[in-house]
């Protein structure tokens, strides 16, 4: 266990155990007052004259003890924590914060495992009036047992029938299933829990969710009216009054509904861990459900989850509910629902990790595995045995591409891939691994907005809420922010003339009416795609080169000189580009809408419940998101009319020509650029002039835009040819590597063949680190050769499909310089 103390410049202290924030001195009072004082007050109210005995499980930081010691009714506290380090720190590093609670004569420290302590107390028939569980959120099985039915049953045994229990749980909004699982475990143990929650800025900042949840319970169920006249111990810093406390018991009904299906867990179950590792960001909002409306929860209590499972239950469900789907679609669903198997994994990390299941199937010798499984066919259902036989037949013929295997609709292939994936996900190092093994990485295509032949096709759902801090007041406005709220530091600056570039300006410009004022200057406000920025006034700009950008507008597109903000040339609107840009803007705008709603709901709830620290920051962040969303509206408006359907892919205006970017082409010979002008006519441009016709016989009357040559074409083509060279080199390097593998395989083959010829097929040879019959070694080597040849084929195809454009571009570049 590692403990880190972060002493900040404002003298506040944050403490981390194993990387998890334990407390932040700025707001730990909210947490500890809420956890300890209501239970204390209820226990006192139920047995007013009694001197109370309390048990604190965990809580070695001394803060819960500090709260309980505020009451003179507390006669004795047993505090059980297994970790001497935290107890030592609590007494020596922050005794002022816990007001020396751990050395108070009414408190007795027990350095031992809480489960053992409670077992012994149960054997000794000990009884407590108040039990507070203040454990960190479980990260492993040992931690999860402290939320099991078995544990709560033990606590119920040592709790006086009128006694109170309070439990630190999890975030109801971020991990709703886990929260309600804990709730149902406490219910199953007959401790009649009531859920409540509050806002803790430091936890939110640490990514633990927008709210944090506790439970309070008792063997004799709490009656709502018991809360009416509670006397909460004093002094208090954050918990103002009973009304505020009651509000903490309110939840969105949709969120509370989840308790009807969340399974309580037994000691050996791992289901709670899976739920904790898989945040789901519940977006339900409102306060229309409260547990103070009833004595006993009328909701059905699901059956307990009892033992660890190999296949996580979400995946089991996905594999069982496959009506009407083919196997590859079923597998896609598995990928979507696969939970994290370890505390440090996030759902997106897991999804990314298993997005390509082929690489897992490639890592094992499927043929021997199938033989091994068939040897044990009596242990398998008949349908799978039939599948295995079919699979064996496929595999016997020759080496088969796993891609095909997955698409053959065999459930057994999915199960095998799944087991290999689980084995990989379980090891904590693999998801952070530094490389992946996809071959031929040179074939990746650039997702360019300005090329019609590579449309921006990957359409993802927008993020449900902004996770980055880019909209926070400390960063907003300093540079562009993307849809995830990530602030992107950049040196990109723009000079521009605002409304100057519309259709009428184009006509004025051509009549030589130039702006007399200075251009606007500034960075972008929002990054739509890596190359597309939205400026503060809602203009949409796409980077073409370091010296020029493309500005989109309602009637024309303008290539703008980045230095002086003046137009270089005007181009015809590329309707396909407009359509793609609008689709992207609209998608991201919907994402921001979601974020605005989530943030507003949270602020509403926090202020309604009376937890208001740091709210101004949230309000500022919300304002910034709203402002950005407004800018996206402006951007959409600036596009003018949007085609109703996706426009068809454009064809080159000359045979064999190549598109350089929207509305600009290069002819097949690499001697001319062809510009589509706003009026639909073409301009043919070379180093010295521009013309109405490809034969270069009719010069255009407007002055030759030399800056288009120097600031757009030359740098654009230079970058493009350099990139092509690099991609080519990359594929060639992969090809060389594959060819040297092939040559090694071929020399193995020659050797095995000669052994087989001389000594017969049953002779035993080395095959890697195994000794096998030479005919089998030969067969496997042939498989490897087939696999390598296929890779070489793919690389060769990639190489030959590298467009001839490169040659033309090089030639054109040469002629332009």
């Amino acid at each position: 266990m590692t403990i880190v103390l972060d002493q900040r410049s404002d003298q506040s202290l944050a403490v981390y155990i194993d990387g998890d924030l334990q407390f932040d001195s700025r707001d730990e009072g909210v947490y500890h007052e809420l956890l300890a004082l209501p239970a204390l007050a209820l226990a006192q109210a139920r047995r007013p004259k009694r001197q109370l005995r309390a048990l604190i499980c965990g809580g070695g930081d001394g803060f819960v003890a500090r709260e309980l010691l505020k009451s003179s009714a507390i006669k004795q506290i047993d505090l059980v924590d297994y970790d001497p380090t935290i107890l030592d720190l609590a007494q020596n590093e922050w005794p002022e914060l816990n007001q020396h609670a751990l050395t108070n004569p009414r408190l007795k420290l027990h350095i031992c495992d809480a489960v053992q302590f409670v077992d012994l107390a149960a054997q000794a028939a000990d009884e407590y009036d108040l039990i507070i569980c203040d454990f960190t959120v479980p990260r492993d099985q040992a931690g999860a047992r402290l939320h099991s039915i078995d544990w709560y049953q033990q606590l119920a045994y040592i709790l006086h029938p009128q006694g109170l229990i309070a439990v630190n749980a999890a975030s109801p909004s971020q991990t709703p299933v886990a929260y309600w699982m804990m709730y149902n475990s406490i219910r199953t143990a007959d401790l009649n829990p009531k859920p409540y929650r509050f806002a803790l800025p430091s936890f939110t900042e640490a990514g633990y969710g927008d709210d944090w949840g506790f439970f309070i319970g008792s063997r004799r169920a709490l009656r709502p009216r018991e809360f009416d006249h509670l006397a909460l111990a004093e002094p208090r810093e954050f918990l103002h009054d009973i009304e505020q406390l009651k509000r903490a018991f309110a939840f969105p009904a949709a969120l509370a509904e989840k308790r009807t299906t969340a399974q309580p867990t037994k000691l050996a179950s791992d289901a709670l861990l899976h739920s904790l590792f898989a945040p789901t960001w519940d977006e339900a909002s409102g306060t229309d459900w409260t547990s103070l409306d009833f004595v006993h929860d009328p909701a059905p209590l699901p059956k307990p989850h009892t033992s660890p499972t190999l296949v996580p239950s979400a995946v089991q469900q996905a594999l069982q509910a496959d009506q009407g789907l083919d196997e590859s679609q079923v597998f896609e669903q598995v990928v979507q629902v696969m939970p994290a198997l370890r505390a440090e994994q996030t759902r997106s990390m897991v999804r990314e990790f298993i997005a390509n299941p082929l690489r897992f199937l490639n890592s094992l010798d499927l043929r021997s595995l199938v033989e091994a499984l068939l040897r044990r066919s009596r242990e398998l259902p008949r349908k799978l045995v039939t599948e295995l036989r079919l699979l064996r037949r496929h595999l016997q013929r020759t080496w088969e591409n796993p891609q095909l295997l997955l698409s053959r609709g065999l459930r057994i292939v999915s199960v095998i891939a799944l087991v290999i994936i689980l084995a990989n996900l379980l090891h904590p190092d693999t998801t952070y691994a530094k490389g992946d093994t996809s071959p031929g990485s040179g074939a990746t295509s650039s997702q360019s907005m300005v090329r019609t032949n590579s449309p921006y096709d990957v359409v993802q759902a927008p993020p449900s809420t902004v996770a980055g801090r880019g909209f926070a007041s400390s960063t907003y406005g300093r540079g562009p922010v993307d849809e995830y709220g990530t602030y992107i530091p950049t040196t990109r600056r723009y000079r521009y003339y605002g409304s100057y570039y519309g259709g009428s300006s184009y006509r004025n410009y051509n009549r030589n009416q130039r702006p007399s004022e200075d251009p606007n200057e500034g960075g972008a406000l929002y990054r739509l795609t890596p190359e597309t920025d939205i400026l503060a006034n809602g203009e949409i700009v796409i980077i073409l080169t370091d010296q020029a950008y493309l500005l989109l507008a309602d009637q024309v597109m303008t290539v703008v000189d980045a230095e002086d903000g003046l137009p270089i040339v005007f181009l015809q609107r590329d309707e396909a580009l407009i359509w793609r840009t609008h689709r992207e803007l609209d998608r991201q705008r919907r994402g921001l809408d979601g974020s605005v709603k989530a943030k507003q709901d949270w602020i509403d709830w926090v202020s309604w419940a009376g937890f208001v620290p740091w709210r101004n920051d949230d309000q500022a962040e919300l304002n910034n998101i709203v402002q950005t969303r407004g800018t996206l509206d402006q951007a959409i408006k600036s596009l003018g009319s949007i085609p109703a359907n996706q426009p068809a892919i454009r064809v080159a205006p000359t045979a064999g020509g190549f598109q350089l970017f929207s509305s600009v082409w290069m002819n097949a010979e690499g001697s001319l650029a062809i510009l589509e002008q706003p009026d639909g006519s073409k301009a043919y441009l070379n180093k010295t002039g521009w013309f109405r016709d490809a034969a270069l016989t009719q010069p255009l009357s407007e002055p030759y835009p030399d800056e288009f040559r120097t600031k757009v074409l030359v740098p654009f083509l230079t970058k493009q040819t350099t990139e092509y060279e690099a991609i080519k080199k990359r594929i060639e390097a992969d090809l060389t590597s594959a060819k040297s593998d092939l040559s090694l395989l071929n020399s193995d083959k020659t050797e095995y063949t000669s052994i087989q010829t001389s000594y017969g097929p049953s002779d035993i040879v080395d095959y890697g680190t195994t000794e096998i019959r030479v005919d089998e070694a030969l067969r496997r080597t042939n498989d490897d050769i087939a696999r390598t040849q296929q890779l070489i084929q793919i690389l060769n195809d990639q190489l030959s499909s590298l467009p001839k454009q490169n040659d033309a571009a090089k030639k054109f570049l040469q002629s332009l310089k």
């Binding site: 590692t2 379980l426 990485s441 593998d741």
Partner: protein, 342 residues
């Protein structure tokens, strides 16, 4: 030759020293085979299984230090990153050694809940045919394509061999007053982590949890293997770098530059300080840990490779990780899975 599972060795024991010497002398080995790394991984909740390869004379000649999740109910892989330690130059000996190690791992697999073994020696491509019955793993634990800088030349010679831009920016950072502080203090971890987190969010990569770094530094720093570097300027910390030095090799394992004052070239200052620190500690090779050699602009390493290229060095293509699944153990797990789904 035979294989035995070694007890947890201390660095001061005779066998422990022998192991460390073998790892450090083996060009295909690295820090992830060191005893300290094993200790670090144990603290992270992993089981560590150390297989020793002995000559018939009972002399330790190689082996592998493997990690596997402690609670592997499902079955996971034993992983020997930077290993195994074998006389790779002697094909026959290496084949025999690897076979014995694999067989021993398979023999003990059930005890550790293992269904397979993953190895990743730092051998250059192409992979030798002694790995013929192994398969390329779905992920590599190390950066398979990387850049090694030979640290034997003097600092001046290294500077002279750099790309002009690298040399210029190193000097620019110094001229502008960027200084680099080297720390071995756990109290610096939150600062290190804040910068890494910022970089991870910006550049879209996953950063291990903070306790990973706490445990790593707590275990490796006292032995002089782990160093935190911070680039500082006018009272601000602009960037950080985690350097691992072990045996002949230094590895730039993590680094992150703040979003603030990027024009101060803190990244260059950090790398140069790390290179010099590695030289002072007697390392002869500096691994930039991840590099795309051809300049492919769409490769995931493209961005930082442009930066690393400025320091010179030689592009290295390693064979990557290789898997060997234990068929019977794997079949067991698959049958269990099928039953759960029934």
């Amino acid at each position: 030759m035979y294989v035995a599972i070694l007890p947890q060795l201390s660095v001061s024991s005779e066998l422990g020293q022998k192991w460390e010497a073998l790892v450090q002398a083996n060009p295909a080995g690295g820090v992830m085979q060191s005893l300290a790394w094993g200790q670090f991984k144990q603290q992270r909740g992993l089981n560590v299984v150390h297989f020793g390869l002995f000559a018939a004379t009972d002399q330790l000649i190689g082996g592998m230090l493997c990690t596997i999740p402690a609670q592997s109910g499902v079955g996971s892989n034993l992983i020997a990153a930077d290993g195994p330690i074998l006389p790779w130059h002697d094909q026959a000996l290496a084949r025999q050694g690897l076979r014995l190690l694999r067989e021993a791992a398979e023999h003990h697999a059930s005890a550790y809940g293992a269904v397979g073994l993953r190895i990743e020696p730092r051998l250059e491509r192409p992979a030798s045919n002694l790995l013929r019955d192994w398969r390329r793993a779905p992920v590599d634990m190390l950066a398979r394509e990387t850049l090694y800088l030979d640290l034997r030349p003097s600092a001046e010679q290294l500077l002279a061999a750099m790309k002009p831009k690298g040399r210029y920016n190193i000097r620019l950072a110094a001229r502008r007053g960027v200084t680099v502080r080297i720390s071995h203090d756990l109290a610096d971890i939150p600062l290190f982590y804040r910068l890494m987190d910022e970089a991870g969010e910006r550049d879209d990569f996953y950063v291990e949890p903070i306790d990973h770094f706490n445990d790593l530094l707590a275990t490796l720093a006292p032995l002089g293997y782990a160093h935190l570097l911070f680039a500082e300027y006018a009272g601000q910390t602009l960037g950080t770098l985690l350097l691992i030095t072990y045996g002949q090799r230094a590895v730039y394992q993590y680094g992150g530059i703040s979003n603030q004052l990027r024009e101060q070239m803190a990244g260059y200052a950090l790398q140069w300080a790390a290179i010099q620190q590695a030289q002072r500690l007697g390392c002869t090779s500096y691994d930039f840990y991840g590099f795309e050699p051809t300049g492919d602009p769409h490769h995931p390493f493209a961005g930082f490779s442009r930066f690393k290229r400025a320091f010179g060095g030689q592009a290295i293509a390693l064979i990557g990780a290789y898997d060997y699944y234990f068929t019977e153990q794997l079949a067991d797990v698959i049958i269990r899975a099928v039953r759960e789904l029934a």
